[in-house]
Every structure is written in structure tokens, then in C-alpha cells.
């Protein structure tokens, strides 16, 4: 690898430029648009692999750094870099982009170039969110992402798409502006917009609490946490398949990433004081939203609620560390919780992406997501059923799948913190199993009861390839999670030191 090659910039701008090219060159030529998109995302993914292979797991400092002045007057820099927390998320993003393009291959018929272009641009922006080390740069990417997503949901979504997309945009916009005010306040205090400077600046308790709440407003909406989660089911149900995949696999992770990059290191004392709030909301999400999922009759809505519930584990794992430190005084339990949260994020990226793709496969054939419209799909689509059941099991958290690793680590650490947290979190394994398996039973098994199901065709090669790739990751991460944990380890250790060192 050439030293000094701006790999992160390439990962941001290649898809954006590619997206623009697709937008203009692909007009009236859908085939060109598709191949150009595939080429771009493929190249981006390949170029992102050196991040993994060239990553130094022994240091928690930023790697692949690029730093050039952007707006010198306000000390705003184009500052990029990755550590163990963000690198896996970048790879998840570039990988998901490939899935998105392939999944839309012959499904999207209307304005293919706009669809592909929007997703490519989104891909670049999402990488930008994960690698930005300047608060304003981060905010620019964070907000810019809303624009293509707004168009994608509103244009290619289902019947209530306009309502859903407006709700999505305004909810996330409202959450983010508070974060912006917090950034500006910290700039006022520190004279810098660098996130790394924010990490070491001292802040009073009141300021910390306000900043923490501002961050919470932004990240809670994105994750989404109870009670600001209501945009997600709407957006998911109305979004096209790839939109759901991107939403669930990556956009939700931005909220979780925000907590580890901003809330915990910048406002450790406020995080400690208010950890009950986040833990409480997480447990509500895990249990209550799990129960809500049970009642859904729409498959996508069910998976959307299940996403909220699973993201509850992420926030739980992140904030339970304070209780562990208090009750056991050991960093090790905390490390387990935090790593569990990170693994859960990555794993959920694969599983939720897979679940939405599976629903997309059915929807493309039957044009309905109502569970009641299906029965006995296994008789007609045995291969598909195999994959779907695998992903469902991963969603439940079956050992041997990636879903197990993160959830198990988080539950284990919750028990260390407080037996009740652990019990409540573990409850979800039952609820999760209930709603997922019940859906599987109703959709895939039983007799074929209607003629539409009778006509179903099994997976074609493209779909098979998609499903198989995801299955490899889901199982691979499940049986052999240590490379991922190794990448995370040093950075998480560093994060925990930051999160537990008082800044008062």
C-alpha cells in the first residue's frame, strides 16, 4: 500500500462522483446506470479492504489520517481518520453498498439512474460520517445524508411514502440541530472543532449535562430509541428494499457510533450521571418494542420493530459500563459490555440487511408484505426458506450466528452490573424468538393456501448470491468473531478510559 494515498477520501468521493456520473450518464440508459453503479460500489469495496489489512490493532490512535484546513477562519479542518470503532463500520458501509446495488438490479424499473445515483451518493456520505474527525465536517455529512434518503423513501416507497419521508427528515433534522448547537458551544469553549480536542477538553457539570442531552437528541432519533422511534417503522415500511437495508444496516449505526465517538468521551461525567436514563430507555426498547413487534401483521414493520429492540442492546451495552465499574470496580466487565455493543452493531448490520432483503425477495414476487397473505412458501421456495430461516435464527440470537455473540456479551455484562438489567435483557431472547419464529412459521410453513404462493419461483442466481454472501458473514462472524473483537479491543479500552475519567 502506498503511504500517503488518501484512502478515506477516496472511499468518500469515489461513490459520490460515481453517483453523479450515474445520474447524468445513465439517463435513458438503465443498463449503463446499473453497470456503472456496480463498478463504482465494487471498486469502493475493494479499495476499502486495505483499511482492514493495513489496520494496526495495537494502537487506539487514529489511522489513515488526512488533515487539511478547510475553513481556516474558524479552525475547521477536513480531518479524516479511523480507529477500531469506526473502521468496521466503514467496511460494513462499503459492503452494504454492493448489496444495495445488486438487490435493486432488476427490481427498480422507474428512474433507475436516480435510484442508483442516490444510493451511491449516500454511500459516500455515510463513509464520511464514520471517518470525519472534525465536528463540523461530521455534521455536514450527517445532515447531507438526509437529502438522498428523503428522495429515495419519498420516490420509490410504498403508499404512505410522503408522510413517512417527511417524518423521517424532520425528526432527524430536529435531533441533529441540537447537536450542532452543542458543537458550537464547545467551539466557543475550546476554540477548536476537532473531535479529538473535544475529547480532552474540560467541561463543567451543567455544560456536560446539556451537551449530553443535545447529543442524546441527535443520536436517540437516529438509533432510534424509545420514545423517538416512531419514524422508523413508517420509514422502513414505505422505503424500497435497498432503502430499508441502508436504514437498518448503516444509518441506525450512526446513532450508536455517535455515542461512542461523542457522548461517552466528551461528556463522561454526564454520561455517568444520566446512564440510568439511557439504560432505562434501552430496556424499554428491548422489552416493550419487542412485544410491539409481536403484534405486527406486516413483515417489514415487524423487522423494523425488531431492529429497534436489537439496537436497545447496543445502547444498553454502552451505558451499562458505569454500573459495572461501580459494582465490580473492574474494567474487564465493562470492556465486555462495550465490545458486545460494537459487535452487536456490526452483526445487526448484516442480519437486518439480510432480513430486509429476504422480505424484498418475497415482496418483489407477491407485492405484499402482509404475513397473512403467505403460507407454505417452503413448498415453492426451498432454497429461499433455508436462508430466511438462518437469518431468522440469527435475529433470535442462536449460538453459531453473529446475533448470538453481541447479545450474549451484552447480557453477560448486564448481569455483572445489575441482576435486573440482565434478566430484562435476557427476556428479549424469548420475545425475539417468539415474534421471529412465529412470523417464520406463518409465512414459510403450513400448507399453501392461495394461488399466488402457488406460482412463486425460487431464488434466481442474483438473489442466491446475495443471500449466500450474507449467510457467510452471519455464520462467519458467529463462529469466529475474534478478528473483529481484536480490531475493536484497543480502541474500546481507550474509549473506556476516556469514558471513566472525570473531566470536571
Amino acid at each position: 500500500m502506498l503511504t500517503g494515498f488518501p484512502i478515506l477520501s477516496t472511499l468518500i468521493w469515489l461513490p459520490i462522483v460515481g453517483g453523479l456520473l450515474v445520474l447524468f450518464a445513465g439517463r435513458n440508459n438503465p443498463t449503463l446506470a446499473k453497470w456503472l453503479s456496480l463498478f463504482t460500489v465494487g471498486l469502493t469495496f475493494i479499495l476499502s479492504i486495505p483499511l482492514w489489512t493495513g489496520f494496526d490493532t495495537t494502537t487506539a490512535s487514529m489511522q489513515f489520517v488526512e488533515n487539511v484546513p478547510w475553513i481556516p477562519m474558524f479552525n475547521i479542518n477536513y480531518h479524516l481518520g479511523v480507529d477500531g470503532l469506526s473502521m468496521p463500520l466503514v467496511l460494513l458501509t462499503t459492503f452494504t453498498q454492493v448489496l444495495v446495488v445488486v438487490s435493486a438490479w432488476d427490481v427498480i424499473k422507474e428512474r433507475v439512474e436516480q435510484y442508483m445515483g442516490a444510493f451511491l451518493i449516500m454511500g459516500g456520505i455515510m463513509v464520511g460520517v464514520f471517518v470525519a474527525l472534525d465536528a463540523i465536517l461530521f455534521y455536514v455529512f450527517w445532515e447531507a445524508l438526509l437529502i438522498p434518503m428523503f428522495i429515495v423513501i419519498g420516490k420509490w416507497g410504498g403508499p404512505k411514502r410522503v408522510y413517512a419521508t417527511l417524518k423521517f427528515f424532520l425528526y432527524t433534522f430536529l435531533g441533529s440541530v441540537f447537536m450542532l448547537v452543542a458543537f458550537l458551544y464547545m467551539y466557543y469553549q475550546s476554540g477548536s472543532f476537532s473531535i479529538l480536542d473535544f475529547h480532552v477538553m474540560h467541561l463543567g457539570m451543567t455544560a456536560q449535562i446539556l451537551i449530553f442531552l443535545a447529543f442524546l437528541a441527535a443520536f436517540a432519533v437516529k438509533i432510534p430509541m424509545f420514545p423517538v422511534h416512531t419514524w422508523l417503522p413508517d420509514a422502513h415500511v414505505e422505503a424500497p428494499t435497498a432503502g430499508s437495508v441502508v436504514l437498518a444496516a448503516i444509518m441506525l449505526k450512526m446513532g450508536g457510533y455517535g455515542f461512542v465517538r461523542f457522548s461517552l468521551p466528551i461528556t463522561p461525567d454526564a454520561s455517568m450521571t444520566l446512564d440510568w436514563l439511557v439504560i432505562g430507555l434501552s430496556l424499554i426498547a428491548i422489552v416493550y418494542i419487542g412485544v410491539v413487534a409481536l403484534a405486527q401483521s406486516d413483515m417489514k414493520k415487524l423487522v423494523a420493530y425488531s431492529s429497534i429492540s436489537h439496537m436497545g442492546f447496543v445502547t444498553l451495552g454502552m451505558f451499562v459500563v458505569y454500573d459495572i465499574m461501580q459494582s465490580t470496580g473492574s474494567m474487564q466487565g465493562a470492556q465486555l459490555g462495550m465490545e458486545g455493543a460494537m459487535v452487536q452493531m456490526i452483526s445487526h448490520g448484516f442480519i437486518s440487511g439480510a432480513m430486509f432483503l429476504a422480505i424484498g425477495v418475497l415482496y418483489d414476487r407477491m407485492h405484499t408484505r402482509e404475513i397473512a397473505a403467505y403460507s407454505g412458501v417452503v413448498n415453492k421456495m426451498p432454497w429461499f426458506t433455508m436462508f430466511a430461516v438462518l437469518f431468522a435464527m440469527a435475529n433470535v440470537g442462536l449460538p453459531g450466528t453473529s446475533g448470538f455473540v453481541g447479545e450474549f456479551m451484552v447480557i453477560l455484562s448486564s448481569f455483572k452490573a445489575n441482576i435486573w438489567y440482565g434478566t430484562l435483557a435476557a427476556l428479549t431472547l424469548i420475545i425475539g424468538a417468539a415474534y421471529t419464529l412465529w412470523m417464520i412459521k406463518r409465512v414459510f410453513f403450513g400448507p399453501v393456501t392461495n394461488e399466488n404462493v402457488e406460482k412463486l419461483q425460487d431464488l434466481n442466481k442474483r438473489e442466491f448470491a446475495l443471500m449466500a454472501t450474507l449467510a457467510v458473514f452471519v455464520i462467519g462472524l458467529g463462529v469466529f468473531p475474534s478478528p473483529l473483537i481484536e480490531v475493536l479491543h484497543t480502541s474500546v479500552e481507550h474509549l473506556l478510559v476516556q469514558a471513566t475519567t472525570s473531566k470536571l
Binding site: 474558524f74 445532515e143 441540537f178 450542532l180 448547537v181
Partner: protein, 482 residues
């Protein structure tokens, strides 16, 4: 008493402009029949010439002339350049609109140029008389422009409304000027500032003066509660004129505000700051909520403009050189975006079809995807969503207001920004998500218009990606002054 001939050099751009206008005014009567667009081209060339004059003699240190009544400084030069640029855009779109709606005439451009001259004088005013003269030159020309379309009842009504309310506002301003003069005995800004600082002025009279001046300024800016004329006049005027009166005069009005409040009365900060806070808060709220229910794009943009004035005033509330610079940046970005916003209407407007209802934009993406994309960029820039330049404008004023210690105002402002995002999204929704009533292709009357809209929209994006230089220019121009 000796009469010393003052230095004319600082006022060369104004004098050249005046000479050019006079020439065009006379020539127009001769060539109007034979070369329809000669006046238009002459006008645009004049703007460019004056622009080059300003750039070539850019004022790095302030120069005062005409016995202290006229100042040339970098603050003024930057604003003048943008007045020229914005007017150039206005005339560009205006010409096509006038042709489409069949009332093309040279007067539009000549009046516009006079108005630009008035703005120049306002921007360079160094005492209250010059300020008043500039304001009148600018306003009188615009009153006539609004009512130019004699056969349209709406336009005449708008002209009358604008004239009466504008005259009222000017009256208020003059009344304020006279009180300030009464209290301080001076009309020159720095002298007023010195006398106020020395504590020799009568504070009661002075505070009344401040109130009247601020009311007059609020009228001109269209800040709540002195905004009632804005939607009616914007709506009633022909779009070509709305384009003008919604953009360039705001830059001049900001210059007036800066000269009067920051240069003449910095020590009365306590008196006028609370007034401006009220104006700003009300403008933000009214601008955010009332625009939502508008179904006419011109009215919507009028209310959104009121909201933008609320943002601009935030920078003034901060009352630091950087605060004023952020407000200055904001007003210029607002004017450029405004040209694009109203320019879109002028672009799509046809004989017999005004194209100013939001419902007219339904399904534009299917009818003209390129133009829809450009409008999308303009709307997101107005909403303040990155990576467009509108985001930086908002960011800077909010940043300055936080520096000044008004955290609550910052929070209120960003909430207002979120609410106002809704109505910009409504336009985008109409273009992208609604099905058109008439699915036929829609091309502007001529491809120049597409190029015009596209270049501004792309400019908004490019400036948004690389805003460093522009921010430097603005913030340095004010730091030299102080």
C-alpha cells in the same frame, strides 16, 4: 471660510454608474425601436464595468470624503460587489420574464440601475443625510418598478401599498434621525458615536431616536411586526420586480443597519439590542409558521424571507465585528439564493401562466429532471441543509450568537430552521413525489434560463463545499473597519 475641493476618487464607481445610467436613459429612447435588447445589454455591461472599477481600486483602508458624508471601505466594497452581482442576476431573469409577459421596456433596467445607485450611496453613507438620499433614490425607483405593469390591478395595488408603507417607514427613520441630531448636534456617524460616548447627549431624546430608527430599519428589512407589506407586495409585483426587491435592497438595508447601529450608536447597544432581539425572535417564529400554509410560491418565499431576516438579525444582536460579518455573509447568501428562488418562477413562467403556485411544480422531476434537481439544491440551501452554502450562513450567525452568550436564541433559531425546512420540503415533495397534472415535457422559454438557474444552484453547492475564501473575505472586511 475656504472651500476645499474634496477628493472625488473614492466615489468614482458611483459617478461612473451615474454617467452610464444617464447615457442609457437618453439612448434608450432612440434605440428602443430598432434594437430591442440594447438597453438590457448596456445595463449588464454597466454593472460589469462598475464591478471592475471597484475591484481594481478595492479599499483596504477606509477613505472618507465630501466633508465626512461619504466613506469608501472594504465593508462597503464587498457589499457593492454583491449588489452588482445580484442585480446582474435579477436583470438576467427579469429580461426573459418581461419578454414572456409582453411588457418588455427599457425603463425596467434604467429604474433598476438607479436603484442600484441608491444602494451604493446607502452603503457608502457616512452621515444621516447621505443615508437618507441613498434610501430615497433606491426606493423611489423601486416603487415605480412595482407599478410598472399599469394594466395589472394587482401590480398597481402592490405599488401603492409599497409606496405608502415605504414612505411611512422613511418618515419614521427621518423622525429618528432628527431626534438623534437634536440630542447630539451632529449628523456624521463617528461624531454621533463620540458624543454619545462622552455622555453629553440627552438620553431620553436619544432613546426615542433609536426606537424610530430601528422601526424604520425593520420596515425596510421586512422584520416582524413591520412585515405586513412584504407578502402582499412580493405577490402583487410582476415576478421580475419581486426578484429585484426581495434581494438587492436587503443588502443595502443591512448596510444601513450596520452604519446606523454599529457605527453611529455602538454605545447605545443596550437600547437597540433588546429591540433587535424582539424583531429577530418574532421574525423567526412568523417566518417559520406562516410560510407553511402558503400555496403560492412567491408568498411562501416572502414569508421565508421574513424568517431569513430573523436569522440575519441574530448576527447583529451579537454586536461584535465577527457578528456583523456573519450577518453580512447571511444577507448576501440570502440575496443570491433569493435570485435563484424567484428566478425559478421567472424561468418557468410563460405567457398566460405565472407558474407561481406550489401545485404548478407537481411532478417537475418527470417533466424536467435537471431543473428539478437544481430547484432541489436551491431549496435545501434555503433550508440550511449542508453541504449547501445556506448551511454555512446559518452556522455562522448561530455560532456568533452563542459566542455572544445568547444560547437560548441559538436554540430558538435552530428550531425555527427545522420548522421552516418543512415548507421547503413541500416544494421538493411536489416536484419529486407528486404526479404531474400535465405530464408533457417542460422546457423553459429559452435555454439561457436553464443555464442561469443551474449556475446559481451549482454555485450554492460549490461555495458550500469550499466556503473558506468567501468567509475570509467577509470577516476580514469588517475586521479592517473596526
Amino acid at each position: 471660510m475656504n472651500f476645499v475641493i474634496p477628493s472625488f476618487t473614492p466615489a468614482v464607481p458611483e459617478m461612473v454608474l451615474l454617467a452610464l445610467i444617464s447615457t442609457i436613459l437618453i439612448a434608450d429612447t432612440f434605440w428602443a425601436k430598432r434594437f430591442q435588447f440594447a438597453t438590457y445589454y448596456a445595463t449588464q455591461i454597466s454593472l460589469v464595468v462598475v464591478g471592475f472599477l471597484i475591484i481594481s481600486s478595492f479599499a483596504t483602508v477606509p477613505v472618507i470624503t465630501f466633508d465626512g458624508s461619504f466613506v469608501r471601505d472594504s465593508f462597503g466594497d464587498v457589499l457593492k460587489l454583491f449588489v452588482l452581482a445580484v442585480s446582474f442576476g435579477v436583470f438576467f431573469f427579469g429580461r426573459e420574464y418581461l419578454v414572456q409577459h409582453k411588457f418588455f421596456s427599457g425603463e425596467f433596467f434604467v429604474l433598476g440601475l438607479f436603484s442600484v445607485l441608491g444602494m451604493f450611496v446607502m452603503i457608502s453613507a457616512h452621515n444621516m443625510i447621505t443615508m437618507y438620499l441613498g434610501l430615497e433614490i433606491m426606493s423611489l425607483a423601486i416603487y415605480a418598478m412595482v407599478a410598472m405593469r399599469k394594466e395589472s390591478a394587482g401590480a398597481v395595488e402592490a405599488g401603492l401599498k409599497y409606496f405608502v408603507l415605504g414612505a411611512l417607514a422613511t418618515g419614521m427613520l427621518l423622525y429618528g434621525f432628527s431626534m438623534i441630531y437634536g440630542a447630539t448636534g451632529s449628523i456624521t456617524f463617528p461624531e454621533i458615536a463620540d458624543i454619545i460616548a462622552s455622555g453629553k447627549a440627552d438620553t431620553v431624546v436619544l432613546s426615542f431616536g433609536v426606537v424610530f430608527v430601528v422601526i424604520g430599519l425593520a420596515f425596510k428589512l421586512g422584520a416582524v411586526p413591520f412585515h405586513m407589506w412584504v407578502p402582499d407586495v412580493y405577490h402583487g409585483s410582476p415576478t421580475a420586480v419581486t426578484l429585484f426587491l426581495a434581494t438587492a435592497p436587503k443588502i443595502a438595508a443591512f448596510a444601513m443597519l450596520y452604519r446606523l447601529l454599529a457605527e453611529a450608536m455602538p454605545d447605545l447597544l443596550k437600547d437597540w439590542q433588546s429591540l433587535i432581539i424582539m424583531l429577530s425572535v418574532l421574525s423567526l417564529i412568523v417566518g417559520a409558521f406562516v410560510a407553511i400554509v402558503q400555496d403560492n410560491l412567491k408568498r411562501m418565499l416572502a414569508y421565508s424571507g421574513i424568517g431569513h431576516m430573523g436569522f440575519l438579525l441574530l448576527g447583529v444582536i451579537a454586536a461584535t465585528p465577527d457578528g456583523y460579518a456573519s450577518a453580512m455573509f447571511y444577507v448576501v447568501i440570502y440575496a443570491i439564493t433569493g435570485v435563484a428562488g424567484f428566478g425559478v418562477i421567472a424561468t418557468l413562467s410563460r405567457t398566460g401562466k405565472e407558474f407561481d403556485l406550489i401545485s404548478d411544480f407537481k411532478g417537475l422531476n418527470a417533466r424536467n429532471p435537471w431543473l428539478a434537481l437544481m430547484i432541489l439544491m436551491i431549496m435545501f440551501s434555503m433550508a440550511g441543509v449542508p453541504p449547501f452554502i445556506g448551511f454555512w450562513a446559518k452556522l455562522l450567525v448561530v455560532e456568533e450568537i452563542i459566542q455572544a452568550g445568547f444560547l437560548w436564541l441559538a436554540v430558538l433559531a435552530v428550531i425555527a430552521a427545522v420548522i421552516s425546512a418543512f415548507y421547503y420540503l413541500k416544494v421538493i415533495k411536489a416536484m419529486y413525489f407528486d404526479t404531474p397534472e400535465d405530464a408533457s415535457k417542460l422546457e423553459p422559454a429559452n435555454s439561457r434560463l436553464t443555464i442561469g438557474v443551474s449556475s446559481i444552484a451549482i454555485l450554492l453547492l460549490v461555495l458550500g463545499l469550499l466556503p473558506g475564501t468567501m468567509i475570509d473575505v467577509f470577516f476580514n472586511s469588517l475586521n479592517v473597519v473596526s
